[in-house]
Amino acid sequence: MGWFYREVRWGYFAVRGAVEPLSEIKLVKDGVEITVDLPGVSKENLSLSASEDAILIEATSMVGGAPVRYRKLIKMPIPIDPDGVKAKLSENGILYIYAPAKAKGFRRVEVE
């Protein structure tokens, strides 16, 4: 019944400051695949940063003549290799990110 008491504000008119874009995260065999819906965003106005446990997306765009600022911090479900992260922005503003899983880091140990 939680929803009964919760105030739901729909519509971007109610949003103050940065808009949190919709996103989808999927665990794949060797890492994590993420897509983010960024209407109106071009490569030039997009910033992407990665650490071992999160990816930060910041972008700006003009949508319907109004400026929009996007910001989203996505926590990774597994540790990733930030140096191996690849991203591609489609023409219609959907960002695809592939983040490879961090190598297990096992190394051979000589036994004396």
């Binding site: 739901v8 971007y12 808009v19 874009p21 989808e24 209407p39 319907g64 489609s90």
Partner: protein
């Protein structure tokens, strides 16, 4: 399921005989809702009624400080569009659907239609999503012969579209489900545009679909919150990339 006693339908216009009805509820990619919105605007359909029930979520839309209904009936020449602007839990959705079908059955509809999206994992790579159609009878197939798209030939269909077709069949109403490949969790105006292209010949009007494509970014941003609420309300299997149709 299917108890319509608590669902109230208020119709304020002169009723139409043998109409076409299009039902649009939030689902994958909000395909039905986006298509219905564009249809209402481009055909100049008038708001002629509302649907409500104490069992529906207590959510109202607010425009300029005034509460508005969230499930509305729009009408034009021989056409009704029923559009829900809120996601409904499964039971409420079933109640809404059966109530609408009971209401439209009295008008002896030519055809009733539901438009929806089917999550497609590779949607990002697809420029023109495929429109698939499934009818509930040969009579429906004849009534909707002008609808473009691929037939779902053999196999199984589950989920809301299957429920809609079954309930229409139980009432002897010719029905079609129009299902378009779409994003699961992002509003998909591109998929809605394909659905509209498919029904344009049936409606016999030009729907200025290029305008929908031009406003795609605005629509996606405007519907972001509805999409987010829809994802929370929908059963996980309806949003998964696993096809509902097994052929």
């Amino acid at each position: 399921m299917g108890d319509t006693i608590d669902v109230e339908i208020v119709e304020t216009a002169v009723e139409v005989k043998n109409p076409l009805l299009i039902l649009a509820v939030p689902g994958a990619g909000l395909v039905g809702v986006i298509a219905a919105d564009h249809l209402i605007k481009s055909m100049g359909l008038k708001e002629i009624g509302k649907i409500d029930s104490p069992t529906f979520p207590p959510v109202i839309a607010i425009r300029d400080g005034v509460a508005k209904d969230t499930i509305k009936i729009y009408g034009g020449t021989n056409l009704y569009v029923v559009k829900a602007d809120i996601p409904l839990p499964v039971t409420a959705l079933a109640q809404l659907t059966t109530a609408v079908l009971d209401w439209i059955a009295k008008k002896r509809p030519k055809l009733v239609m539901v438009i929806g999206g089917i999550p497609e994992e590779d949607r990002l790579k697809i420029t023109n999503p495929t429109v698939m159609k499934v009818y509930n009878s040969d009579e429906a197939k004849a009534a909707g012969e002008k609808i473009k798209g691929e037939f779902m030939k053999d196999g199984f269909l589950s989920g809301y579209a299957a429920f809609f077709l079954k309930e229409a069949s139980r009432r002897g109403i010719p029905a079609v489900a129009l299902i378009v490949q779409s994003f699961a969790v992002y509003p998909d105006p591109g998929a809605a545009a394909e659905a509209l292209r498919a029904i344009e010949p049936l409606l016999g009007v030009e729907l200025d679909i290029s305008k929908l494509e031009e406003e795609s970014e605005t629509i996606r941003l405007k519907l972001k919150e509805l999409m987010s609420q829809t994802v929370k309300a929908m059963p996980k299997e309806e949003l998964s990339a696993t096809p509902m149709y097994i052929g």
